[in-house]
């Protein structure tokens, strides 16, 4: 193949000068993967802690009371049509419904680290389940 990639001159310069060059997007090693996995699992663990934490609501009820192991949360089916809301909704809106109602607590912003952790936990518990957005 004789096409010249636009980054090739840069690579050559780097090689000649001995400067540290930025890695291309798909260059990552086992160390990177390990770090990412640790970050993810830390979020999962935080999510699990929140799952059983009465402080998420105001009445002592916790997520795990109705959803042991996050069962019946179906994260792999979101976003989907929620007939009760009358529109297609993402998972975090449903989580907020639970926080407001059975838990009588305050809803979380979509990008609240707690909301992200809860979603990480319920998604992790459904590993191996076929992704079927919108199914039910």
């Amino acid at each position: 193949m004789n096409t010249v990639k636009p980054w090739m001159p840069l690579l050559i310069v780097c090689a000649l000068t001995g400067l540290t060059c930025p890695a291309a997007a798909d260059e990552f090693n086992a160390e990177d993967q390990q770090r990412w996995q640790q970050q993810f699992m830390a979020s999962v663990q935080q999510g699990r802690a929140l799952w059983t934490d009465p402080a998420m609501g105001s009445n002592g009820v916790v997520c795990a009371q109705c959803h042991p192991n996050a069962a019946n949360t179906h994260p792999e089916t979101y976003p989907k049509f929620q007939k009760q809301l009358g529109r297609v909704a993402p998972l975090w809106e449903m989580i907020n419904w639970c926080l407001r109602n059975p838990l009588e607590g305050q809803p979380l912003a979509a990008d609240d680290p707690k909301m992200i952790a809860i979603q990480a936990y319920v998604t992790y518990e459904r590993r191996g389940v076929k992704l079927e957005p919108g199914k039910h």
Partner: protein, 358 residues
């Protein structure tokens, strides 16, 4: 026509009183024509999980489930002979919870009998519950049926007495499913010795109905849908012709047949639980006979909770589940197949979508 009406019609046919039945109040017909040993029913309320918040505040939703069940039982015609409460009256076993639950149940205009649940037990090992409701295990006769109530939620002494810094901690650990610090439920040696002696006095043809909180069979250990010494209890019950076990704890409809023993669960008034199958990683032994109940609608707080009217007329139990805002379910003992059958949904082709999506 409701399911209760249907069983009432069957009763009237056997009583030969169809013409009278259309004009008389049903309670009167039953008094006039029933053979006491053949026809009676009781209501079953279970798993109220009354949860204390602070002062005189309790979780509204769980309160409402029990209040509604009590009100509906009081309106039943014909009146059931008694009401069973299947355990887990409280959430964390505290005095305010047990008192509040007992007060709500005191509105029942019928005799009430009680089963011990783990949420009632693990704070003070049943001391206050016993003051309110009596012994943790006992038996009684009613119209030719021998009823046995077991405390099936005990566990290893080491776990109960030596593991936890406080009684509150012990309760919290046992109160959650999917908890690696938990421990499997069991009836235990003491009660099994008692059970053996109790059964020795009973004729082998007498119908036996056992009430327990945990299932007396093994379904899914991770959520404590499990009784560790189930096989030993089943062996004690084996010599009898008609045996039924009715249990709470699982907050869902389950039924099974193991040898001569029929197993039926009852619904919760507090909240529904999913079936273990909805947890993808789990090894579980959900009975093959069980047809999942409809998937609960989270936007309707009473959905997939309820109470059931139980008929023991034949010596086997037939359960009529009343499901709020949903089609009722009838699980009836099939005398030909000798096992409980869901009247409407046993055939795979008869199931409806909400029973497949859970």
């Amino acid at each position: 026509m409701s399911n209760i009406d249907r069983s009432r019609r069957n009763f009237l046919k056997t009583g030969g009183a169809l013409a009278l039945g259309s004009t008389l109040p049903i309670g009167l017909v039953e008094l006039a024509f029933a053979e006491p040993a053949q026809n009676f029913s009781f209501a079953y309320i279970s798993d109220a999980h009354i949860q204390h918040i602070k002062g005189n505040r309790f979780v509204r939703n769980w309160d409402m489930g029990l209040k509604r069940a009590v009100a509906e039982v009081n309106l039943l015609t014909p009146k059931p002979d008694f009401v069973m409460f299947g355990g887990d009256l409280a959430q964390l076993g505290s005095k305010p919870e047990l008192d509040h639950g007992a007060e709500m149940l005191s509105a029942l205009q019928l005799p009430v009998k009680y089963v011990m649940g783990e949420h009632d037990y693990y704070l003070d090992l049943g001391a206050y519950w016993e003051q309110l409701f009596g012994p943790q295990y006992y038996s009684f006769e009613h119209k030719g049926v021998h009823f046995i109530v077991l405390n099936s939620i005990r566990t290893y002494d080491d776990w109960t007495y030596h593991r936890w810094p406080s009684a509150e901690q012990r309760m919290l650990e046992m109160a959650s499913l999917d908890n690696p610090n938990g421990s499997p439920f069991m009836v235990g040696d003491e009660q099994r010795v008692w059970l053996k002696a109790d059964l020795a006095k009973v004729d082998k043809t007498t119908p036996i109905v056992v009430f327990s909180h945990s299932p007396l069979q093994k379904i899914y250990k991770g959520w404590n849908f499990w009784t560790e010494d189930a096989e030993q209890i089943q062996a004690l019950l084996k010599p009898f012709k008609k045996v039924s076990v009715i249990y709470g704890h699982v907050h869902q409809i389950q039924y099974n047949q193991i040898g001569n023993i029929s197993f039926n669960s009852v619904m919760a008034t507090a909240w529904p639980w999913p079936y273990p199958a909805s947890y993808a990683q789990a090894e579980q032994y959900l009975p093959k006979l069980t047809v999942p109940m409809n998937r609960a609608d989270p936007f309707f707080e009473r959905d997939a909770t309820g109470w059931q009217f139980i008929n023991v007329g034949s010596g086997n139990v037939d359960l009529n589940f009343t499901l709020y805002d949903n089609r009722d379910r009838v699980v009836r003992f099939d005398t030909l197949k000798k096992q409980p059958q869901d009247r409407d949904y046993q055939a795979e082709s008869a199931r409806i979508d909400p029973q497949r999506h859970y």
